[in-house]
């Protein structure tokens, strides 16, 4: 395993395709998984391709760990950047079988980066039984697992994952998700993960960059970016979510529930696999799964009731809804409620309020399972 590396990625680049123009300036300390998030067509893949050196028409500069990858005079070829890239469409070599694909990367590895051995890659991604299969006989999920293993075997210093779940149906997403979650924990390799799914971001990323129309919209830790009060969800075509950092308290196997603590308050969530009391995990909560009440409710099926304070009320012009942001022990939880309800309950900034969170919201956010 590599030392926990903390390399800076400095990007100041632009690339135009007809009317679309990507312009990205940022400096990142690449620790853990950085999510690159934004709607389709916002330039996520293009930025990733620039980093990998696959867009030689890109202008400006990119440097990683003090090494200039490109600027006005230099352009380091992609094979000299030690970047691993997992494509959305896997791009396995059709003239080789699965083992041939893995050996291809293994033969070209950078010897000094000892990230993973052939047998580790095979066992972690569970491809022992696939080794002698032809690539065109694999399912979508199997292809991605092989592609991830192949990429790791080239011993990259930076791993770029371009929507590895994008082409998969729900069943196969569930199949891959645990592997993705364990990747960074197992190898400590800095990773940039592209996705347009809030849930994937919440589960996998530590920091994130949100881009929109080729520009950086916001940048920071996942809870900062997604929980940002100023985040204008109306321009970001995603449902508002909150990211709760919680600690595992106790598991109730008979009930298939786990109790977790958020500050002083506790929540019940569907059983978490492979976690120990004391582990820190992140949960995502959708605004549409949060109900507000001005007094503590009784006789309700909702198990999770937390007390907070109204931080802001934002109306969405032309709709019946407003987004009420509730501050619960420092975490912003958005809730989508009707304007009528706001009027009737007298919801305004500063009001103490109970947020009722449906347990099922966690079930969906864990659709991939937590390994």
């Amino acid at each position: 395993m590599l030392e926990q590396s903390d390399k800076r990625l400095e990007i100041d680049t632009s690339l135009g395709f007809g009317k679309f123009n990507l312009e990205i300036q940022c400096e990142l300390s690449l620790q853990g998984v950085t999510g690159l998030f934004g709607p389709s067509g916002s330039g996520k893949t293009t930025l990733l391709r620039i980093l990998a050196g696959l867009e030689n028409r890109s202008k400006g500069s990119v440097s990683y760990g003090g090494v200039i990858w490109q600027d006005s005079t230099v352009f380091i070829a992609p094979h000299l950047r030690s970047v691993g890239y997992v494509f959305q469409d896997a791009r396995l070599f059709s003239h080789l079988d699965v083992e041939g694909n893995l050996r291809y990367a293994d033969r070209r590895k950078i010897p000094k980066n000892r990230l993973i051995t052939f047998s580790e890659a095979v066992s972690i991604l569970q491809i022992d039984s696939l080794l002698h299969r032809e690539t065109d006989s694999l399912s979508g999920g199997e292809r991605q697992r092989v592609a991830i293993a192949r990429s790791l075997l080239s011993q990259p210093e930076l791993l770029l994952l371009d929507e590895p779940l994008g082409a998969l149906d729900v069943v196969h997403k569930k199949e891959i998700f645990p592997y993705l979650q364990s990747l960074h924990r197992s190898f400590g390799i800095p990773t940039i993960y592209v996705s347009h799914s809030v849930t994937e971001m919440a589960q996998l990323a530590d920091n994130m960059i949100m881009i929109d129309s080729g520009r950086i919209n916001s940048i920071g830790s996942v809870s900062q970016v997604l929980g940002r009060e100023a985040l204008d969800w109306s321009v970001v075509p995603f449902e508002p979510v909150a990211i709760l950092s919680v600690k595992v308290v106790e598991d109730f196997p008979a009930l298939h529930l786990t109790r977790v603590a958020h500050g002083e308050q506790t929540l019940m969530v569907p059983s978490l696999k492979n976690v120990q009391p004391g582990d820190s995990i992140r949960l995502s909560v959708r605004a549409t799964d949060v109900v507000l009440a001005t007094s503590k409710p009784v006789d309700l099926s909702v198990r999770n009731v937390v007390l907070g304070q109204v931080k802001s009320v934002k109306t969405a012009p032309g709709t019946a809804f407003a987004t009420v942001t509730v501050d619960v022990d420092g975490t912003c939880i958005p809730s989508q409620v009707t304007l009528e309800a706001i009027d009737e309950l007298g919801i305004e900034t500063g009001l103490p309020i109970y947020a009722l969170i449906k347990t099922a919201t966690f079930d969906r956010s864990f659709s991939g399972g937590l390994s």
Partner: protein, 222 residues
């Protein structure tokens, strides 16, 4: 039994031409498959000319371009002491140009259908451009290479007009099988003309059959 010299000469000419085209046509086809240059259609049109022009037109220009009075021809004469026209070497030069589209077009199609995806994947696995070409594109284009080589070979065997214009009819030098058949017919030696013609017909059919068989096999396999 007719003299089989022309047959061996045809096979030698086709063999040498195919080998040269292999080295010439592969980079050209690769360049055409991935360039965005404005020159691309110009080069494509030039490459396709031999498909359309009567062999006599091409042969006529070769005769002028390779003749001892031309810069190329006189240079060759000075260096080697032999004229390019009416020689085996001249035939090879003419055949390379004449059969170029048969090498380049199937290869270009093959490269284009592979696309840049596998190359890019290879780059990100630390393969250099050359490495990626030989380790990914060449094996994936295997069928394209076979088709191209077979077509270029067979087309050179079947060449007549260009050979007649540039090479004439010198036994052991330029008298290839198609010229020999022509001569047998002219001298009313139908028996030998039959033997050579039937041989060439069967050979050509077998070659084309093999090409199409492996192409169809390719399709059902994919």
């Amino acid at each position: 039994m007719p003299d089989l010299g022309p047959l061996w000469l045809s096979l030698a000419l086709a063999g040498v031409t195919t080998v040269i085209l292999f080295f010439l046509g592969t980079p050209l086809a690769w360049w055409l498959s991935c360039t965005t240059s404005r020159l691309k259609p110009v080069i494509e049109a030039i490459t396709a000319l031999p498909l359309v022009l009567p062999p006599t037109v091409i042969g006529f220009y070769f005769l002028i371009a390779l003749g001892p009075a031309s810069p190329v021809g006189s240079f060759w004469l000075q260096v080697t002491g032999d004229a390019l026209t009416f020689s085996f070497t001249g035939l090879v030069v003419a055949s390379v140009i004449y059969s170029l589209p048969f090498m380049v077009q199937p290869l270009q199609n093959s490269f284009e259908s592979i696309g840049v995806g596998p190359m890019e994947a290879a780059y990100t696995l630390n393969a250099s451009r050359i490495d990626a070409f030989f380790s990914v594109v060449v094996p994936q284009a295997r069928r394209g290479f076979i088709t191209s080589a077979v077509l270029a070979f067979a087309h050179t065997i079947g060449e007549f007009g260009v050979v007649l214009m540039v090479g004439g009819n010198i036994p052991g030098q330029t008298k290839v099988i198609s010229i020999a058949i022509y001569e047998h017919v002219e001298t009313l030696n139908y028996a030998d003309a039959h033997i050579l013609s039937a041989g060439l017909l069967s050979f050509t059919f077998v070659v084309l059959f093999l090409v199409y068989a492996q192409r169809n096999g390719n399709r059902t396999h994919a």
